[in-house]
């Protein structure tokens, strides 16, 4: 069962990375305008011809 000593911390670390990523995205305002994000993908004026 010694493998658990590697696997469990690794699983927790991965989960923790997800949590930190979420908190970062929350802090950087990515959830402030969800409806806006949904429609902003539509115009393609950022594509250079």
């Amino acid at each position: 069962m010694n493998v658990l000593l590697y696997l469990v911390p690794m699983a927790l670390l991965l989960g923790l990375t997800g949590l930190v990523a979420f908190l970062w995205s929350l802090k950087s305002g990515q959830y402030d305008d969800l409806d806006g994000a949904a429609v902003r993908i539509l115009p393609d004026d950022d594509i250079e011809n």
Partner: protein, 795 residues
């Protein structure tokens, strides 16, 4: 007229001439709109950044002050084709959004911890049933503790803080048993882990926090949504005033920026922006929003005037002053203070449940421990079982039972055009057995309408209506609404206090007072329509017409009052207007119980009398004179056109021209209350089943996990039924459109389609309103009084 626009109160200044302003924008509904506005503004010299928040329908602009100013930016948005209204950020909104972020962080931490602890717990449960060694189990328990303890310390803060606050005030709220349950479960688990026991409850504690935080967050999100919306509404309806500087120069400023001592010019057709005294000019003012009286009052130099009155005939200058002793405003505020202190704090259903629940649970746990000790169990076992009782009864379902319904019901009300100021209004609305209506602006439409009873040639009426487009007079505005072709006649000239004239088809047409049109002051048509109507005369090419303008009932008032009576509610009309004006309307609606000519104190007296008889009163009113009555009543509603002070004291606002939201509010609230009670019953049943198992000492962490999440889910799903039932009723609504009187359909041009979202509706409503830029003001100034809203953010 060149008039500068001063928006400095809305602008936040940064370092080195940087400025920032938030605007509520109408009509933005797709990516194209966002692009057009953002790119259009970005091109302007001096604009640093323009960003639309599409969810909130708000635009934030940063610019350098020396190159462009706030008025220029509004003008630019206008040129792009949208209406933007400067927005004064409210402190409450900022608090809410900070609170929401904090709850979201707690939720994230609790979610992360719950998932990982559950991962370990399931291994332990499986291991306990098979061949897990004690060492591995202890390792897993310690790992769980490592995750759960810091996570609970962080994510539990909203509950711990609220519980501490309640305990300091020597009260019990739902957060006390929650906090106690969580802390005890964690402490017991740590102890059990240290003594190599088979069971630990880390997963129960952290999952409980996760579920409860979900409920808290949804509750706050709903409140935030309504508050954001109310904020946009306020900025869309904000009024502007013409301030006279010492040199006689005019500046347009938001009414909220006026200070006592300012001199203000009020043109005919405009609303008086603040309380004060007339300095010069003589005119008549329509005070229906203030006193309920529909007959205009003559004012001259020295007369006290109130914010919200409409200047009818000629321009006035006035000096803004704080409310003086003996004025109506002062009396209203005195009554308000009294009413608010006298109003007993109604105990919310959730708090009542908590007050009953917490002692029962804690006593049961104590009795369990004592019982097991008496039965010969060891102290350790007795305490473990007692704590298991506390964990299993931890009021997860109970704490979700009411907020979940509130969130769903507030959402339904929002879609029906009712904006709640506070969550517990729903409970109080459900208890109502008497509805007291104000007349002017509540049962009747806020703006006067053309009386349909007079037979007028449609051709003539159309011409008169188009001519009325060129006038600022409030009566003309009512007539102008009837114009099918909304183009003013070229060359129309308004003679203040008299009327408008223009040459139509080679002949002069006149619209205005009888003498202006060369007619006799009294004619048959006028006499036939009674004294509560005002008349406009029209003369053109030998044809004359007398057009009566009067207060009209809201198109669905009859259907709604009938529906309310069918529900067994007693209806009463209390009006500040004359009896001759109130009686016909009350009769038409079939309400026998009406009183007229009431002062604010008398309205309160009637309501207090009713409440002393044990009646629960819903007060619906819009006038300044209604504000104390709204505060005194059990629960209160205001149309969105109400005076500012009145809105502030109403529990909810309703939008649009229809009275239907009042009925919907009562219906939804009753449904919601029924669901709340059902949910409480479900929580009780759950406890009745779970507690004996816990007391018998049979609860394992697995049973606790299943029981707690199961009961929370059931309660939440039951709450969602509020939404389903409301939508079902929407299609088969008993007092629906099919039964509207034909007159309602005729005058429904301004009626917002009820299926649209309130924001869309609001945009339609506001599109008829002038903007604070010079040119539009000139063209559409006469439409100013279509919205009768006074917003004075300073009070």
């Amino acid at each position: 007229m060149a008039e500068t626009l001063d928006l400095s109160m809305f602008v936040e200044r940064g370092a080195a001439g940087a400025a920032r302003m938030t605007l509520a924008v109408e009509g933005v509904h797709c990516a194209g709109c966002i692009r057009k506005i953002e790119n259009g503004l970005a091109k302007l010299p001096g604009v640093i950044d323009a960003r639309i928040n599409f969810t909130q329908r708000r635009l934030a602009v940063d610019w350098r002050d020396n190159e462009i100013d706030a008025a220029g930016i509004i003008k630019a948005v206008e040129d792009i084709g949208y209406h933007a209204h400067p927005f004064a950020p409210e402190r409450l909104e900022a608090d809410d959004s900070a609170q929401a972020k904090w709850l979201m962080k707690c939720l994230a931490v609790a979610g992360f911890a719950a998932m990982n602890v559950m991962l370990l717990s399931i291994s332990v449960w499986a291991g306990n049933a098979s061949d897990m060694t004690q060492e591995t189990r202890d390792l897993f328990h310690w790992l769980s503790a490592l995750i759960a303890l810091p996570a609970a310390a962080y994510a539990g803060q909203p509950f711990f803080r609220s519980a501490l606050r309640a305990l300091r005030a020597r009260q019990l709220n739902m957060d006390v048993p929650i906090s106690l349950g969580v802390v005890l479960a964690l402490a017991l688990s740590v102890f059990e882990t240290a003594t190599h026991a088979a069971h630990a409850y880390f997963d129960s504690a952290i999952m409980l926090l996760f579920f409860l935080l979900c409920g808290r967050y949804l509750d706050l999100a709903m409140r935030r949504k309504t508050r954001l919306f109310a904020g946009n509404l306020a900025s869309l309806k904000a009024e502007f005033a013409h301030r006279l500087d010492a040199s006689g120069e005019l500046t347009q400023v938001p009414a909220a920026a006026l200070r006592p001592g300012d001199r203000v010019l009020v043109r005919p057709g405009e609303r008086i922006p603040a309380d004060g005294a007339v300095l010069g000019g003589s005119s008549e003012i329509d005070e229906s929003l203030v006193t309920g009286e529909t007959v205009p009052r003559a004012v001259a130099a020295g007369t006290t005037v109130y914010a919200g009155s409409i200047n009818v005939s000629a321009a006035l200058t006035m000096r803004v002053s704080a409310a003086g002793a003996g004025t109506l405003v002062e009396e209203v505020e005195r009554l308000l203070d009294k009413a608010i202190t006298a109003k007993s704090q109604t105990v919310r259903l959730a708090d009542r449940a908590a007050r009953f629940y917490a002692p029962v649970v804690h006593t049961t746990a104590a009795l369990t421990a004592v019982g097991w000790l008496l039965a010969g169990a060891s102290l350790h076992d007795a305490i473990v079982i007692a704590i298991a009782v506390l964990i299993i009864t931890c009021p997860c379902a109970l704490a979700l039972a009411i907020p979940a319904v509130q969130v769903v019901a507030a959402g339904s009300l929002f879609r029906a055009g009712v904006i709640l100021n506070g969550g517990n209004a729903i409970e109080r609305l459900a208890e109502v057995d008497t509805v007291v209506f104000d007349k002017t602006g509540t049962l009747t439409l806020p703006d006067p309408r053309v009386d349909e009873g007079l037979e007028i040639d449609p051709e003539v009426l159309e011409r008169a209506a188009r001519l009325a487009l060129s006038s600022r007079h409030p009566l003309a505005a009512a007539l102008a609404r009837r114009a099918r072709e909304r183009i003013a006649y070229p060359g129309a000239i308004e003679e203040p206090g008299q009327g408008v004239r223009a040459v139509i088809d080679g002949e002069e047409a006149r619209l205005g007072s009888a003498s202006f049109c060369g007619l006799a002051a009294a004619d048959e048509a006028a006499a036939a329509r009674g004294s509560d109507a005002s008349f406009i005369r029209f003369a053109h090419a030998g044809k004359t017409a007398t057009i009566a303008i009067r207060q009209a009932l809201r198109p669905d008032a009859g259907a709604v009052t009938e529906a309310l009576m069918v529900r067994g509610l007693r209806l009463i009309v209390l009006s500040g207007d004359r009896p001759t004006a109130v009686a016909p309307m009350a009769n038409q609606l079939g309400i026998d119980d009406w009183r007229a000519g009431l002062k604010p104190a008398e309205k309160i007296a009637v309501i207090e009398h009713l409440q002393s008889q044990g009646r629960r009163v819903l007060m619906v009113g819009d006038g300044l004179n209604d504000a104390p009555a709204l505060a005194a009543a059990h629960v209160s509603l205001s149309p969105v056109s109400a005076a500012h002070l009145t809105q502030a004291h109403a529990d909810a606002l309703f939008l649009g021209e229809l009275l239907k939201p009042v009925e919907r509010a009562v219906t939804v609230a009753r449904q919601a209350r029924a669901l709340m009670k059902q949910n409480l019953a479900l929580a009780v049943i759950y406890n009745a089943l779970a507690v004996p198992i816990a007391m018998a000492g049979l609860v394992t962490p697995l049973i606790a996990a299943v029981a707690m999440s199961g009961s929370s889910l059931i309660v939440t799903l039951n709450a969602l039924r509020a939404r389903l039932e409301v939508t079902a009723n929407h299609h088969l609504s008993p007092a629906g459109r099919g039964r509207l009187p034909s007159a309602a359909r005729k005058s429904s041009e301004g009626e917002p389609p009820s299926r649209k979202s309130p924001l869309t509706r609001l945009a339609a409503e506001a599109a008829r309103r002038p903007l604070p830029t010079g040119e539009r003001w000139e063209v559409t100034g006469q439409q100013n009084d279509q919205t009768r809203l006074v917003r004075d953010a300073s009070s």
